[in-house]
């Protein structure tokens, strides 16, 4: 062991504020696990962070091809993090296809680690690359580390008696080890995870530990890396944290809502990307009495949930755009019979099948208006993965309090993205009081609470409350079928007023940033991160900007119009063609401007900043279309 001594020069360790690192490779290369482990480790250390997984639409495209590329990005910092990062400090590319698909996002002079063993001619061909980028100087602007990842992993594991395939499966942990060295992180948390994960497969625990160690040592031993980094912990609110994705948080939120309400949770759902995980998560919570019903289609999914709500459960259904389109007739029924229901639409790229694995915010108008006739429904939207937990509670609260269906608009970015989430204690959760009618005295199915305008929840099986409900227009109070003209007008306005009354509980609007000034940004949903980051950056430059991020899209907060009046200009960035924009313009007659990006991926902070500067007359604007027109021609 000590026969020859290699002298390792003391290398620089730099303390920096934040870094963005992206692992990418073939779907079979385990990039999601690698990214999650790295995330977990930096989170445990106390950094703030945000992640963005980006996996292919295809189930499993042929190995090494472009459609097969999978990626995972982590942004971690010693201060607040709002987005996974516009561009990347360190890119780990396991094969040529991954390199090709991801290089554009690497910063100039950024660190690029590639697995040279997978840059053979055949690999290049599968990635439709003509000349080897490792040789043609196209990577000259980066700090390239061409590492024999496969070979070195095999060497490290040669004594374990694994076959070649199994050994090669560990090469992602070699890369992970390198990153741990690079950012001075302990491998302990990942050791713990491996031991838990492969409890009964000690050989795999060993193999992965060894591979990781080898990667770490490789950096330590070679002189390739002249510098490593240290990112101190962030100043986060004290408490217990966990990493959580939007879909997992939604599921937890519903379990919490059902527990707080003291009624069973029923999910009727039909699998669809990117909503399926809500079904998967909730189907595990049988110990909470959660009922999950995988229906024959989206219509049965929502109508079974309506049946469950009728029976006295918290009925919910989860889906994405195309499935949402199928549910709209049933939504109208829920409006007419005034039963509580929560519908989760995890938006994805469209129209039609569109871009199933990509994110978009283009179902807002569908949520607001996608039903026959006047059938208003409250709509809420979470602004971050962790916020999905709270939005589930808020939607359930509204549904039960007002006896209405409520739509939650999440999106693919929130659903799959994850962030550290401060775990609430039980008494931090809102109360969700439920009153089931039991008194037959004077009972009438559409007699209303004067404040919430809700009708009684009178579930089958309650003696003396036998009554009939249905989707035909009915007389108020009695619920009897009624075709009278004036009754219809009354009922239409009543249903609208009931939804409007939800605004009674919306807290006053307090913009982030400035309370009045030059520019107000109004937005909703998953754009919260990049907008907040841009807002902070621009305000540091002395600009007067406020930001209202709407959680309630219907009804809107009552004082929103007043807030708008306090600003000179209004900007509405959305991942659609201007849907909230239209609502705001119509309602407030304000000449708000849209900033619309519809590329299946979130805004970059820099894009928002650029747009802000343009609105403030400080810079020309390069819109995504301009980019596009340059690149795609026509």
């Amino acid at each position: 062991m000590a026969l020859t001594t290699i002298e390792i020069p003391k290398r620089k360790r730099e303390i920096i504020d934040n870094a963005v690192i992206r692992f990418c490779g073939d779907s079979g290369d385990g990039m999601q696990i690698t990214g999650s482990q790295f995330t977990n480790t930096v989170a445990l250390y106390g950094n703030d962070l945000a992640t963005f997984p980006d996996f292919p639409a295809e189930i499993r495209a042929p190995a090494g091809t472009l459609p097969g590329v999978s990626g995972f990005q982590v942004h971690f910092s010693s201060s607040d993090v709002y987005t996974p990062g516009d561009s990347v400090d360190v890119l780990i590319a396991m094969n040529p296809a991954a390199l090709k698909m991801n290089l554009a996002d690497l910063k100039t002079n950024g660190i690029l680690i590639v697995n040279v063993d997978d840059f053979k001619e055949n690999d290049l061909r599968k990635a439709q690359i003509v000349t080897n980028p490792l040789e043609d100087h196209s990577l000259d602007g980066y700090r390239l580390f061409a590492v024999e990842l496969t070979k070195m992993t095999r060497a490290a594991l040669k004594d374990l008696g694994l076959d070649a395939k199994s050994m090669d499966r560990c090469k992602n942990f070699f890369a992970l080890g390198m990153c741990y060295w690079l950012y001075n992180r302990s491998m302990e948390p990942t050791h713990g995870w491996l031991e838990e994960k492969f409890k009964n497969k000690q050989q795999l625990v060993q193999a992965n530990k060894l591979a990781m160690k080898a990667g770490y040592s490789y950096c330590e031993a070679t002189e390739a890396f002249q510098i490593s980094y240290e990112i101190p912990p962030a100043k986060l609110t004290p408490g217990v944290y966990r990493n959580i994705s939007g879909n997992a948080a939604l599921a937890l939120g519903f379990v919490a809502a059902s527990q707080k309400a003291g009624i069973p949770l029923f999910l009727g759902s039909y699998p669809i990307t990117p909503a399926s995980d809500i079904l998967h998560e909730l189907s595990m919570y049988k110990d909470f009495g959660v009922i999950t019903f995988q229906a024959e289609d989206e219509i049965a999914a929502i109508t079974s949930a309506i049946g469950a709500a009728y029976a006295g459960a918290l009925g919910i259904t989860s889906t994405s755009g195309p499935g949402m389109a199928l549910k709209t007739e049933a939504l109208g029924l829920a409006v007419a019979v005034e039963l509580p229901l929560v519908i989760c639409d995890i938006q994805r790229g469209g129209p039609s099948t569109g871009l199933p694995t990509k994110t978009e915010q283009a179902d807002l108008l569908q949520a607001l208006f996608g039903r026959n006739s006047e059938a208003p429904i409250p709509v809420v939207a979470p602004s971050s993965p962790g916020d999905c937990f709270w939005i589930a509670l808020e939607a359930s609260r509204i549904a039960i309090k007002h006896m209405v269906p409520v739509i939650i608009l999440s999106d693919g970015y929130l659903a799959n993205g994850a962030e550290p989430w401060k775990v609430p204690t039980i008494d931090e959760l809102p109360e969700i009081p439920v009153h089931f009618e039991t008194n037959p005295e004077g009972f009438l199915p559409y007699r209303r609470d004067p404040v919430t305008l809700s009708r009684p929840w009178a579930v089958p099986g309650t003696p003396g409350l036998e009554h009939r409900i249905g989707g035909i227009e009915k007389q108020d109070v009695t619920g009897n079928i009624d075709y009278e003209p004036l009754n219809h007008e009354h009922m239409v306005r009543l249903r609208a007023a009931k939804v409007e009354s939800v605004a009674n509980d919306i807290p006053p609007v307090v913009p982030e940033g400035d309370q009045s000034g030059d520019l107000l940004i109004i937005a909703w949903g998953s754009t919260h991160g990049p907008i907040t980051a841009a807002l902070n950056a621009q305000r540091e430059k002395g600009r007067s900007i406020g930001h209202v991020h709407l959680r309630h899209l219907n009804p809107l907060p009552r004082d929103l119009g007043d807030v708008i009046k306090r600003f000179k200009k209004v900007l509405v960035p959305e991942m659609n063609m201007g849907q909230l924009l239209m609502i705001l313009r119509a309602k407030f007659l304000v000449d708000a401007q849209g900033y619309n990006k519809i590329q299946g991926k979130p805004f970059k902070t820099s894009e928002i900043e650029n747009k802000i500067e343009q609105m403030l007359g400080l810079a020309p604007f390069t819109s995504p279309e301009d980019d596009f027109d340059e690149q795609a021609g026509e």
């Binding site: 527990q259 110990d287 009922i291 459960a313």
Partner: protein
Amino acid sequence: MTTATLPVYTKKDFQTDQEIRWCPGCGDYAILSAVQMVFADLGIPREKFVIISGIGCSSRFPYYINTFGFHTIHGRAPAVATGLKIVRPDLEVWVATGDGDSLSIGGNHTIHMLRRNVGLKVLLFNNKIYGLTKGQYSPTSEVGKKTKSTPFGTTDRPFNPISLAIGSEATFVARSVDVFQTHLKDTLKKAAAHKGSAYVEILQNCNIFNDGAWETVTEKEARSENIVQLEHGKPLIYGKNRDKGIRLNGLDLEVVQLGNGVTEKDLLVHDEKHPRAAYAFLLAHMEHRPGFPTPIGVFRSWDNVPRYEDLINDQIREVQAKRGKGDLAKLLRSGDTWELKA
């Protein structure tokens, strides 16, 4: 909630104050009356009954029965009822539906409810027409039928609701007729007693848009020649003089005349518990053949299959027995957590 003594009801207890809006003479009245009487007889507290319907003349049913009732949307009653029944397996959930509602737009929910064996009782009002929309053909209308939407005759082969149900693995399939009150009530009671999905086709006359569609079955003079009653354990005899029967011939059925050496003993003895669904299937297709009678009664009653709602709730109970009831605080803190100190 349940009292020690069983409630005693009369038909009246199941009537509502709502004006009945079916055409005078419609077969739906007879079905309504039969159901009200059967409900009164079952000795089940009234509040335990729920009737779920879709859209159609027949789907107005819930308004006229003084139980819980939910008039939903076209075709979706089985799905609404499934959600309800899973959450409340203790309720008696009946579905009222039409041939359009259940077999056209609602076909998918119907077959899935049956394969799952959800404990619902389904009343299929089969009048071979869309009544409420004023007379278009339905998936049970006979080929060549001239209707509002087919002035030159239909070209669609109809479903046989019984064989479709059997093909969907239904555990209880029966047929009765609006005007055969005793038979209808008997059949409904059998359906009520069945544990899983009970699918009951009721031949119903729409006297406005398809009058006489079931004439061969209901017409006083001819009916005994055109119907064979399926009675468990009894031979398939029919005819005014009970002189005809159905005999098995290999994998086929044949009509035989009793006498001349052919006796009751030669006839097929009905077995609603027959282990092969193909048996009921064979019976169901009989009526499509010239010279064969239409079978009514219980085609199949197979009680060995657990109810869907029980399986779901049992699974929950099992998990809770093993893991204990869920603890929310624990759940929220599950997974990889870390604590940041002040």
